[in-house]
């Protein structure tokens, strides 16, 4: 900690020893919540496989894994339609998959194959899935935030009730464009949901060394924008907050910031835990946060409610692993893009 007054305004939300209990779920909602659980498993295992492809040397593109953060993407995605427009960042496998992008197209993209989500031209950090409402991700920190504001402007000009969503991390809130974008969205009254996955770390540095407080929602307060801060490892809490904010935006009540507090199990980039790279990234924290695993908490909740048995879950997980194994196989055998793409795709029109 530096000499200045650091203040944790998040309190228990940033404390991995808290919020570890199973989620409280109603049996009536069981089938739907089982689907959410399955989607989180798909994200977890797809990213796990991508990590293995990195270790194997097959994937060289920088892969930023969001293992441990699945509930944010899945919770928000439940409130979005394919006609909404979501934008991501360097760590967006989860957003792409939660919205309905296929593991095979993601893995193929990571391997630089023509069957990939971006036809092998983007890699892990530049994903595209218009059919499912995912309109692009890029690794320049904060870059898609104003782009989402422009998508919100387009939605307003269209006159419908679509919304635009920007997914970004706590590091991006230190970029000036985040503040410019919130201001522009507020004064223009645009249907934009800013989703901050506050995992308490930029690439390597604890938020404690970067900001005077760990609560990102305070920036929305400054811009007179609606905001909710939730436990990002509780998919139901994320979903409820997203429901409130997205529906308000659809009704024309303007932009909002959803802050979801979470933690990544892996390092900034690649499959390792990166305790050596992180400043203040401690083994005890990583282990404690794994006890707050969003998948385990929903699973335990569903088991406690009698929706799933432990065996049901194991079967679900086996099925997911098998499917993703097949997706990896298809992606591995897919062809690379034709070299002509290098020149032919520079312009949409003729040169």
């Amino acid at each position: 900690m530096n000499g200045r007054a650091w203040q944790s305004e998040l309190g228990g939300l940033a404390d991995p020893a808290q919020f570890t209990e199973p989620l409280r779920v109603g049996k009536a909602d069981g089938a739907r919540l089982s689907d959410l659980l399955r989607t989180m498993l798909v994200i977890r295992h797809t990213e796990d496989q991508i990590g293995r492809l990195v270790v194997e040397g097959l994937a060289r593109t920088p892969c930023h894994l969001g293992i441990g953060q699945e509930a944010v993407a899945v919770g928000v995605a439940t409130r979005l339609r394919a006609t909404d427009r979501a934008f991501g960042n360097h760590r967006s496998h989860s957003h792409f998959l939660a919205l309905g992008g296929s593991p095979e197209s993601l893995i193929a993209e990571v391997l630089g194959k023509a069957s990939g989500a971006s036809r092998g031209m983007g890699g892990s950090m530049h994903l595209f899935g218009r059919d499912v409402g995912f309109h692009g991700s890029v690794p320049i920190v904060g870059a898609t935030i104003p782009i989402a504001v422009g998508a919100g402007l387009a939605a307003k000009l269209d006159g419908g009730d679509s919304v635009a969503v920007a997914f970004f991390g706590d590091g991006a809130t230190e970029e000036g464009v985040f503040h410019e974008s919130m201001n522009l969205a507020v004064v223009s009254d645009l249907p934009v949901l800013f989703v901050c996955e506050n995992n308490l770390f930029s690439s390597h540095l604890d938020i404690e060394f970067r900001q005077p407080s760990d609560r990102i929602g305070r920036y929305a307060d400054a811009h007179r924008m609606r905001t909710l801060t939730v436990d990002g490892n509780d998919v139901l809490a994320v979903e409820a907050a997203a429901a409130t904010l997205v529906e308000a935006a659809r009704r024309g009540e303007g932009p909002a910031l959803l802050e979801a507090v979470t933690y990544r199990f892996r390092g900034h980039v690649g499959p390792n835990e990166d305790l050596d790279v992180g400043v203040h990234r401690r083994m005890a924290d990583v282990q404690a946060w794994k006890q707050r695993c969003p998948i385990r908490r929903l699973r335990d909740g569903l088991v406690a409610a009698g929706v799933l048995s432990g065996e049901d879950f194991a079967a679900m997980e086996r099925e997911v692993v098998t499917d993703i194994g097949q997706a990896v196989g298809l992606a591995r055998s897919a062809p690379y893009p034709d070299v002509s793409a290098l020149h032919d795709l520079v312009y949409a029109g003729p040169r």
Binding site: M121, A143, I145, E180, S181, L184, L345, G349
Partner: protein, 339 residues
């Protein structure tokens, strides 16, 4: 205000011609809107957008907070969603704050996302200099942006191009930087009715024919070339003037053909010398031409490699004028040429 859309040939000025382009676009194309600082004020952009907000509404002519980066990003985002926004930067110097959205985003998304995302945004950058405005109110950064694959860069020199290249830029499916120059706003010409033409069909154009030397300019420097050609004509030197118009993607064929005939080349660039656009023109000719066809070393007239000064005494020595262009041309010609 004169709204000549749909009218016959008429005389107009460069700034008004830009406005005619906007009137045409906003009248005929629902997906076009404009966004930038100063669009509700007569102060920022000369006479090039007067009263457009009153004609087309403040929803489509959007004045903004002081946020070049976010506003450019918003234009890129709307372009990704089917609109054809024009984001206006009343001074190119301030547009540097938006460089990420122009260079990393607009220019890259089509390629980087496998041809699935189109960014038909037009970034209007205005060169506005002189009058002791100094180093941060003066820059002509076309060379910088012409370096970026995926970003089309156009510089209208003529009154007709002020209107017609704007229309072609906005209707193009790629990001285009359209650079106009306040020093050209007083130019006048008779314009024919608008004919929409694809930007990809546009490129360098011979605007004055001749046989002794090829002068090449872009934007205001084309006007300097024409003025210099008048000076040279009085000495019976017959200069070709080529207006480059489209700096990226650059198609040097017309220049190459002309230099093949004249054997002499002088490029006039309103930007700096080092790694500048004039160097690209000379290199494109030098690597493709038969060296025996060159009768003299190619020349360039550029700004000195120094920031723009404020004091009028220094300004006078900073910006090249037509006389200096004529001097450079003469230096590439045989010493004693008589009528």
């Amino acid at each position: 205000m004169n709204d000549p859309t749909g009218t016959g040939p008429h005389e107009t000025g460069y700034g008004e011609a830009i406005r005619e382009g906007f009137v045409h676009l906003l009248s005929r194309h629902r997906e076009v809107f404009t966004i930038g600082q100063g669009l509700w004020s007569p102060w920022y952009v000369g006479n090039s957008m007067t009263d457009l907000d009153k004609l087309f509404g403040k929803d489509r002519v959007i004045d903004t907070p002081v946020s070049e980066l976010a506003c450019t990003g918003a234009a890129v985002g709307a372009a990704l969603c089917g609109y054809r926004p024009v984001v206006i930067h009343p001074r190119m110097d301030f547009m540097v704050l938006a460089a990420d959205q122009i260079i990393n985003q607009a220019a890259k998304w089509h390629h980087m996302l496998g041809g699935q995302a189109r960014v038909p945004v037009t970034i209007r950058a205005i060169i506005n200099r002189g009058g002791e405005q100094g180093a941060q109110h003066s820059q002509a950064l076309h060379s910088w942006f012409a370096h970026i694959p995926g970003l089309r860069v156009v510089m209208p020199a003529s009154v007709a191009d002020a209107r017609d290249l704007l229309i072609a830029s906005v209707l193009c499916d790629d990001p285009v930087m359209y650079i106009d120059d306040r020093w050209l706003y007083d130019q006048r010409a008779v314009l024919p009715p608008v004919v929409e033409r694809p930007l990809a069909a546009e490129g360098p154009k011979v605007v004055r024919s001749g046989s002794d030397i090829t002068l090449v300019g872009a934007g205001y420097s084309t006007w300097l070339c024409s003025q210099a050609a008048d000076i040279l004509a009085a000495e019976d030197i017959d200069a070709v003037v080529i207006d480059v118009r489209v700096l990226n993607p650059f198609e040097p064929a017309a220049i190459l053909a002309s230099v093949g005939r004249t054997g002499r080349l002088c490029v006039v660039d309103g930007g700096w010398r080092n790694a500048g656009w004039a160097a690209e023109v000379i290199a494109s000719v030098a690597e493709a031409i038969d060296p025996r066809a060159l009768k003299a070393s190619p020349r360039r007239v550029t700004l000195a490699d120094a920031p723009a000064p404020t004091s009028k005494a220094l300004e006078a020595g900073y910006y090249p004028d037509a006389r200096q262009v004529a001097d450079a041309a003469r230096a590439a010609l045989p010493p004693r040429r008589t009528a």
